[in-house]
């Protein structure tokens, strides 16, 4: 019997590994949603000068999302009489599956990937586009005007924003010469080799991509599909309970997925910024397998921290900027983002073909130094501003001495 089992294992270990990988991915997606919702509430609270969750699970409200999840699980799951029953039920799951499939091709570390694909990037873009279909079905199947408006807006938005998003992602692909996400990440060892610093075009492509990615996750300022001030709650007006939860798991999953693409294509993937692959470094000191495990634990944590940093930036933008109008959203894409991304793609092709190598190297160094200096300056100003006593001219404050009601610098001195 034991002999048979070991023989069985020798032939079929891949299936066991595949099942474990699938479980891990689903687990990660759920934990990611729980953590991101908590983070979103804390960030929103901080930006709007309130506390956010503080009670459930200690001082920082760590368990608030779990409590919410419990509430949503036991909440009544209503289906409106006017709704198309089948589409109403099936929509959230299409959205969730579209978002989940993207994680299959996403590498978290050196060899930590569910399925290695030559066209991993393209696969991720393709499956994430099917998430929109779920949203449209949700909007249409609800049988409500608000939902239908939300769904149609989402369709219009996604059909347009997919184009600049894909074109911007192609800019580092042209530099890297590969769509294999692990390979692209491995080419960027050392922070100065990150593709965002490679040339002016990739630098601009990162910001353009990130804008489109925010729009594709229907995050504010592009959350026209939701637009709670005009459309009640947009496409998910009629949803409650677990189905509503599923919609939001899909949204937070795809937020991490697009951030993961940005990480790998522009920000070095799981590289912490050192010019060596951590697994090979640790393999020299600890032996092959322990080194691989230790190195990859570090890699995966670096990748997740980077991903959540980008997710944090999305939240920061959401709670800072006001929502655009639908015509402004469409104009931004069709008049600006698409031409910009076309120019970026043509530019980076010409750059890699005709620019002398020395000039490429110097300019990428200049971009790197300027970005680091700029980031340092911003962080320094933020810290000094935060240290000021209250009432002494925070950024954006209206400094007008003569204005009635002004309690600025003059009073405290």
């Amino acid at each position: 019997m034991l002999e048979w089992l070991s023989e069985f294992w020798k032939h079929n270990w891949e299936f066991v590994v595949a099942i474990i990988a699938a479980k891990l991915l689903i687990g990660f997606m759920l934990v990611n949603a729980i953590f991101s919702v908590w983070l979103e509430r804390k960030v929103a609270g901080r930006i709007q000068d309130r506390l956010g969750p503080t009670r459930v699970g200690g001082k920082f409200g760590w368990l608030q999302t779990l409590a919410d999840g419990m509430k949503l699980l036991i909440k009544e799951d209503t289906i409106p009489a006017a709704a198309d029953q089948m589409l109403f039920r099936v929509g959230p799951y299409i959205a969730l599956v579209g978002s989940f499939l993207a994680f299959i091709a996403l590498p978290y570390g050196d060899g930590i990937i569910a399925r290695e694909m030559n066209i991993g990037l393209f696969f991720m873009l393709a499956v994430m586009s099917s998430e929109v279909f779920g949203i449209i079905l949700i909007g249409y199947g609800s049988g409500s005007k608000w939902s239908l408006f939300g769904g149609m807006r989402e369709a219009a938005q996604m059909v347009s924003y997919e184009i600049p998003m894909a074109l911007c992602v192609l800019v580092p692909v042209i530099v890297a010469g590969s769509m294999n996400l692990s390979e692209v990440a491995k080419q960027q060892q050392g922070i100065w080799n990150w593709y965002i610093f490679h040339d002016p075009f990739t630098f601009a492509a990162f910001w353009t991509y990130f804008t489109c990615a925010m729009a594709s996750c229907k995050r504010a300022p592009f959350d026209l599909a939701e637009a709670e001030s005009e459309l009640v709650a947009g496409f998910h007006t009629e949803y409650s309970g677990f189905r509503w939860l599923v919609i939001f798991m899909a949204e937070y999953g795809s937020m991490f997925a697009v951030s993961g693409i940005a990480n790998i294509m522009f920000l070095g993937g799981w590289s912490i910024g050192l010019p060596w692959e951590l697994t090979t470094v640790f393999a020299q000191f600890l032996g092959e397998w322990p080194g691989w495990i230790v190195g990859n634990v570090l890699n995966v944590s670096v990748f997740m921290v980077k991903g959540w940093l980008l997710v944090f930036v999305m939240m920061w933008v959401r709670w800072t900027l006001p929502r655009l109008r639908i015509d402004q959203v469409m104009m931004l894409c069709l008049k600006y983002l698409i031409p910009i991304s076309c120019i970026l793609m043509a530019g980076v092709s010409l750059w890699t073909l005709y620019m002398p190598l020395l000039a490429q190297w110097i300019i990428s160094l200049v971009i790197f130094v300027l970005s680091v200096a700029g980031t340092g300056f911003v962080v320094f100003r933020l810290i000094t501003w935060a240290a000021l006593p209250p009432g002494t001219g925070m950024p954006g404050m209206w400094r007008m001495e003569g204005l009635p009601g002004y309690q600025g610098a003059a009073k405290t001195h």
């Binding site: 048979w4 393209f122 279909f133 249409y140």
Partner: protein
């Protein structure tokens, strides 16, 4: 003794599952009378086809299938709903004659496909037509030949000395494209004609 290697079973099971679901969804596409539900079933069918491509290891074709057809179905739903909707949920009635015609067309297509595939299989099995018996289907260049013929290039690598060296499918391909154009114009005309009638009345 039990079989210890599950690979062939799992592959067969996965293929059967995906293919069966795809077939069921295809039937549901035809049977459903609600236009948006039908489009949803169509989406599932196309996604199932891409699943078969992924099972075969053709990642690129599978991803293309997903990207193009999901986008296409989405546009179909949006325009299908926006241009033709009169009630909130449209129901299409299919009468007996339509059923008969479509079933006949389906049987005809199935028989053409099975005869084509069957004759190829027979030729392979008996070694007729110069196709060697143990030639692996995976290594054959038939798909490439058809692709080249579609693009107007008249020959594939192994058909150079064939009598059919001159055949290419550019003309039928173009005719199909023109047919698609006709369908597009027709759809636009139908949608506009309805609106005009509303304006008059």
């Amino acid at each position: 003794m039990l079989q210890t290697d599950l690979h062939s079973y799992v592959q067969l099971f996965a293929f059967g599952l995906v293919a069966g679901l795809t077939g069921l969804c295809a039937i549901a596409t035809v049977v459903t009378q609600n236009i948006v539900r039908s489009a949803t079933w169509l989406l599932f069918t196309l996604a199932g086809t891409s699943g078969i491509f992924f099972l075969l290891g053709a990642d690129f074709v599978g991803a293309i299938q997903l990207l193009i057809y999901v986008g296409g179905t989405m546009v179909l739903v949006v325009f299908g709903v926006m241009l033709t909707a009169q009630g909130p949920f449209i129901h299409m009635k299919t009468n007996g004659a339509e059923w008969a015609i479509s079933i006949a067309a389906g049987i005809l297509l199935f028989s053409v496909l099975s005869v084509g595939l069957g004759s190829e299989y027979l030729a392979r099995a008996t070694g007729a037509r110069g196709v060697s018996k143990d030639e692996d289907t995976k290594d054959s260049h038939h798909a490439a030949t058809i692709g080249q013929a579609l693009s107007g290039a008249p020959y594939g690598p192994e058909r150079k000395n064939d009598n059919n060296a001159g055949t290419h499918y550019l003309l039928p391909f173009e005719i199909v494209s023109v047919h698609l154009l006709v369908v597009l114009i027709g759809a636009a005309y139908l949608a506009r004609a309805k609106r005009r009638k509303e304006e008059i009345t």
